[in-house]
C-alpha cells in the first residue's frame, strides 16, 4: 500500500505546471475567447488580450514535451504511460484553464486509437500536436473546440455497462462536412470552450469493443474530474489572495468568519475529491473491476467540489468577481461547464448506485 505519486510523476507534473504558468497565464486563456459581440450583443470575454499566437503555442509546447502522447503506446510514438502518470497533468491543465481539448485528444481519443490500431492513421498528428481530436459522449451533441478538432469520436452507452460503443463521426451534417455548421461557434457560458453544436451525424465504423469504449469514456470523465480539481484550486488561490488584500470595514475581508468558512468549505471539498480522483486513476491503470465505479465516484465528488468553489469564490469576491475584466470568470465558467460535461454529479452517482446494486 502506497498512496502517493512517484518522484518521476511529480517531476513531470512540475514541468507541465511550470510550462503552463509561463505559457498559459490568464491573458492567454482570455485570448482564446472569440472577439466581438455574440448574438445577444454581449462582449463576453472583454478585456486585455494576448497575442493569439500564444494560444497555439501552448499546445505545440505541450506536444514537444510529450504530453499529448502520454497515454499512447511507445510503438505509436507516445510515452506509453498510464492514468496515474497523466492524472496530475490533467489537473494542471484545469488549473491553467488550458484552451484546448487536452482531455479529448490526449486522454480519450489518442489512447483509444493507440489501442485499436489507428486505422485512420491520425495518431502521429495527435501526438505531435498538428491535429486535435474531439469527443461527444452520452448522446451529447456539443463539441468543445469544435472549430479546431478534425477527428471526432462518439462514446455512448445503451443498456448498461456492456452497451458502450465508440464510433468515429464522419458523415451527415457533422463537423467539417457542412460549411454552415462548421466553425460556427454556439453562444455559450464559457466562450473559451469554442462549442460547436453537432447536427445529425453518421459513423462509418466502431472503434474497438465495448470494453475499450467504456474505458475511453472513463478516461474522459477521469481527466475532466482532474481538471475540475485543478480549476477549483485555481479559484481558491485567486480568492485567498484577494480576501487577504481587499479591505472593507477597516479590515481585510478574509478576517471575516463568513469568508473563512466559505473558503474552508471549498478547500475541504477539493481535499477529499483529489484522492478519489487519484485512486480512480490507479483503478483504471491497474484494470480494477471497480474502475468505472471509482471514476464515477471521483467525477461526482469533483463536480460537486467545483460547484462549491464556483459559488463560494464568486461570493467572497463580491462585485469584482462578477465582471469579465477580472480573471475569476475564466476559471469559474470552465468549472461550471465541466461539472456537467462527461456526465454530471447525479449521473455518476446513479452509475455508482448501479454498481452497488441498489
Amino acid at each position: 500500500m502506497r498512496f502517493a505519486f512517484t518522484d518521476d510523476q511529480i517531476a513531470f507534473r512540475d514541468a507541465v505546471k511550470d510550462l503552463l504558468s509561463k505559457e498559459c497565464p490568464p491573458e492567454v486563456v482570455r485570448a482564446a475567447w472569440p472577439d466581438g459581440t455574440d448574438d445577444h450583443g454581449a462582449r463576453k470575454g472583454e478585456g486585455a488580450r494576448a497575442d493569439a499566437d500564444r494560444v497555439a503555442k501552448v499546445w505545440s509546447d505541450l506536444a514537444e514535451m510529450g504530453v499529448l502522447g502520454v497515454a499512447v503506446a511507445e510503438d505509436h510514438g507516445g510515452l506509453g504511460m498510464a492514468e496515474t502518470d497523466w492524472v496530475l497533468l490533467a489537473e494542471e491543465t484545469g488549473y491553467a484553464a488550458l484552451p484546448h481539448p487536452f482531455v479529448e485528444t490526449a486522454c480519450v481519443v489518442a489512447p483509444l486509437l493507440s489501442e485499436t490500431g489507428d486505422g485512420d492513421g491520425v495518431l502521429g498528428e495527435l501526438v505531435d500536436g498538428t491535429r486535435q481530436a474531439g469527443a461527444v459522449s452520452l448522446n451529447g451533441s456539443l463539441v468543445a473546440w469544435g472549430d479546431a478538432v478534425t477527428y471526432l469520436v462518439a462514446l455512448d452507452r445503451r443498456g448498461g455497462e456492456d452497451g458502450w460503443s465508440a464510433r468515429r463521426i464522419t458523415g451527415g451534417v457533422a463537423l467539417g462536412d457542412d460549411e454552415h455548421h462548421r466553425r460556427h461557434l454556439a453562444d455559450a457560458l464559457d466562450a473559451g470552450r469554442h462549442l460547436v453544436q453537432l447536427g445529425a451525424w453518421k459513423a462509418d465504423a466502431t472503434l474497438g469493443d465495448t470494453d475499450a469504449a467504456r474505458r475511453a469514456f472513463d478516461r474522459g470523465a477521469l481527466g475532466t474530474a482532474a481538471q475540475l480539481v485543478g480549476l477549483g484550486r485555481r479559484m481558491l488561490d485567486l480568492t485567498v489572495e484577494y480576501a487577504a488584500e481587499r479591505r472593507q470595514f477597516g479590515v481585510p475581508i478574509g478576517t471575516q468568519q463568513a469568508v473563512k468558512h466559505h473558503l474552508a468549505n471549498v478547500a475541504m471539498g477539493l481535499r477529499f475529491a483529489a484522492p478519489a480522483v487519484y485512486a480512480a486513476a490507479w483503478s483504471m491503470a491497474t484494470g480494477s473491476p471497480n474502475a468505472s465505479r471509482d471514476v464515477s465516484a471521483a467525477k461526482s465528488l469533483a463536480s460537486d467540489a467545483a460547484r462549491t468553489a464556483v459559488r463560494n469564490t464568486l461570493q467572497c469576491h463580491g462585485a469584482i468577481g462578477y465582471t469579465v475584466e477580472y480573471d475569476l470568470h475564466l476559471y469559474l465558467k470552465r468549472a461550471e461547464a465541466l461539472s456537467r460535461a462527461w456526465g454530471n454529479a447525479a449521473w455518476h452517482r446513479r452509475r455508482v448506485g448501479d454498481a452497488l446494486d441498489i
Binding site: 459581440t37 455574440d38 462582449r43 472583454e46 456539443l142 455559450a188 457560458l189 453544436q197 471575516q256 469579465v324
Partner: protein
C-alpha cells in the same frame, strides 16, 4: 384573513393581462422577434421602446400618482401588475434603478419642484437614472466612500472628483444619483450629500464594462473637476439637504433591500416555467435524475412562500405594523431562491445547460443576487443583530 382579490382587482388584472399580451407581442414584432439584452447598446434601445409603451398606458410606474406619470394603483394592484408582467414574460425593466430606487427617495425627500420635474421624465424614460453608490474601495462597506463634491459658491454649484463603479447600466443612462463627500474632514457616514448628476457634464467620463455574462451591465464613472451647477435640475441637485446623504440614501437602500425591487411575481413566474420545463422533459424519464422532481417542487413551494410572506408584509405595512430590518430576510430568501430555481433548471437541461438560453443567462444573472444590495453575509449579520438582537461585539 381574506386571501381573495376584489372584483375591481380582478378587473385590473384582466386588463393588464390582455394589454401585456398584445403589447409585448407587438413590441417583439417591431424588433423582428429578436430582443437583445437590455444591457447591450442595441438592446437598450429596444428596451427603451418598451418602456415608452408602458408609459403611454400608465403602466410604467403603476403605483405612482397619475400627475407624475403613474396610474395611482394600490399596493395590491402593483403586486397584481407585477404578477401579470412576469407571467407574460415581460423583460427586465431597464428603468428600474430610477423607478424603484431613486423615486421612493424623491417622494420622501424631494421638493415639489424636484418631484414635478424628475418623476414624469423618469416614468416616460426621457431621463434614465443609474445608481452611484459603490466605489472601488467601497462595496459592502458603503460608508467608506471617498468621491467628493466641493462647494463653489461663486459659480453656484459643486465640483465633483472621484470614481464610482459597478454602476448598473451606467453606460446607457443620462443621469446618476449618488453619494458624495461634501465635508472633507468627515469620516464614515457623516458629511455625505445625496446628489443628482447629469452624466453629460464636462469632466464626467463613463466607461461601460462587462458583467459576468459579458453584457455591458456595469460602468465606471469618473469625475474629474466636473462642475455640477445648482440649476442643472429644476429644484436643485441636492436631495434631502447637504450633509444628510447617509440617512437619505438608507431610505433608498432599504427600498432596494425590501419589497419594491423584487416582487414575488418574478419568482413565481420563474417557478411556473421551471415546472413546465420539468413536465416537458420528464416525458423521457431516463434522461432525468429522479431527485429533480423534488427540487422543482421545492423551488415552486419556496416561491409560493415568498408570495404569502409578501401578502402578509403588505397587509402589515398597510395596517401600520412595520417589518423594519426584517427586509434582510426577504433579500436572503429571494436571492437564494433565484439561484436555486435556475440551478435546478440547468440540471434538468443537462449538457444543453452550457448553451446560452433563458435559463443559463438567468443563472448568471441570479448569481449577482447574493452579492448586490448588501451581500447575503451582511444581510445575515443585520438580521441576527437587528431582528434577533444578538450582540454586535
Amino acid at each position: 384573513m381574506d386571501l381573495t382579490w376584489s372584483a375591481d382587482e380582478e378587473q385590473f388584472r384582466a386588463e393588464a393581462r390582455t394589454w401585456l399580451e398584445a403589447k409585448l407581442a407587438a413590441w417583439r414584432a417591431r424588433h423582428d422577434n429578436r430582443i437583445l439584452s437590455g444591457d447591450t447598446t442595441e438592446g437598450f434601445a429596444q428596451h427603451l421602446d418598451w418602456e415608452r409603451t408602458l408609459f403611454d398606458a400608465g403602466y410604467a410606474a403603476v403605483s405612482w400618482p397619475t400627475e407624475v406619470g403613474g396610474r395611482g394603483a394600490s399596493r395590491w394592484e402593483w403586486l397584481i401588475f407585477e404578477e401579470e408582467y412576469y407571467r407574460a414574460g415581460g423583460p427586465q425593466r431597464v428603468t428600474q434603478n430610477g423607478i424603484f430606487l431613486l423615486a421612493p427617495t424623491v417622494f420622501e425627500f424631494g421638493s415639489p419642484e424636484q418631484q414635478a420635474h424628475i418623476l414624469p421624465r423618469m416614468a416616460s424614460a426621457q431621463d434614465l437614472w443609474c445608481q452611484g453608490w459603490s466605489e472601488p474601495n467601497a462595496g459592502s462597506d458603503l460608508a467608506s466612500l471617498s468621491s467628493r463634491a466641493v462647494r463653489d459658491d461663486e459659480r453656484g454649484g459643486w465640483v465633483l472628483n472621484g470614481q464610482k463603479t459597478w454602476t448598473t447600466r451606467g453606460a446607457f443612462c443620462t443621469h446618476l444619483f449618488g453619494l458624495f463627500r461634501t465635508d472633507p474632514a468627515s469620516e464614515r457616514h457623516r458629511g455625505l450629500t445625496y446628489l443628482l448628476v447629469p452624466l453629460d457634464l464636462d469632466g464626467v467620463t463613463v466607461r461601460g464594462f462587462g458583467r459576468l455574462d459579458g453584457d455591458e451591465g456595469f460602468a465606471e464613472v469618473f469625475f474629474e473637476d466636473a462642475f455640477l451647477p445648482d440649476d442643472a435640475l429644476p429644484g436643485g441637485v441636492v436631495l434631502g439637504g447637504v450633509g444628510e446623504g447617509w440617512s437619505v440614501a438608507m431610505a433608498t437602500t432599504s427600498s432596494e433591500r425590501g419589497l419594491t425591487l423584487r416582487s414575488p411575481g418574478r419568482f413565481c413566474a420563474t417557478a411556473d416555467r421551471l415546472v413546465n420545463l420539468y413536465r416537458e422533459r420528464s416525458k423521457d424519464p431516463d434522461a432525468l435524475d429522479p431527485g429533480l422532481r423534488d427540487r422543482v417542487v421545492q423551488g415552486w413551494i419556496a416561491a409560493e412562500a415568498y408570495r404569502w410572506q409578501t401578502l402578509q408584509t403588505v397587509t402589515d405595512d398597510a395596517e401600520g405594523r412595520s417589518a423594519g430590518a426584517a427586509s434582510s430576510f426577504v433579500k436572503l430568501w429571494w436571492s437564494e431562491l433565484d439561484v436555486a430555481l435556475h440551478e435546478t433548471a440547468l440540471d434538468i437541461l443537462g449538457a444543453e445547460a452550457e448553451l446560452d438560453n433563458v435559463w443559463s443567462k438567468g443563472w448568471q444573472f441570479a448569481l449577482s443576487g447574493p452579492i448586490y444590495a448588501g451581500t447575503n453575509e451582511i444581510q445575515r449579520n443585520i438580521a441576527a443583530e437587528r431582528v434577533l438582537g444578538l450582540p454586535r461585539k
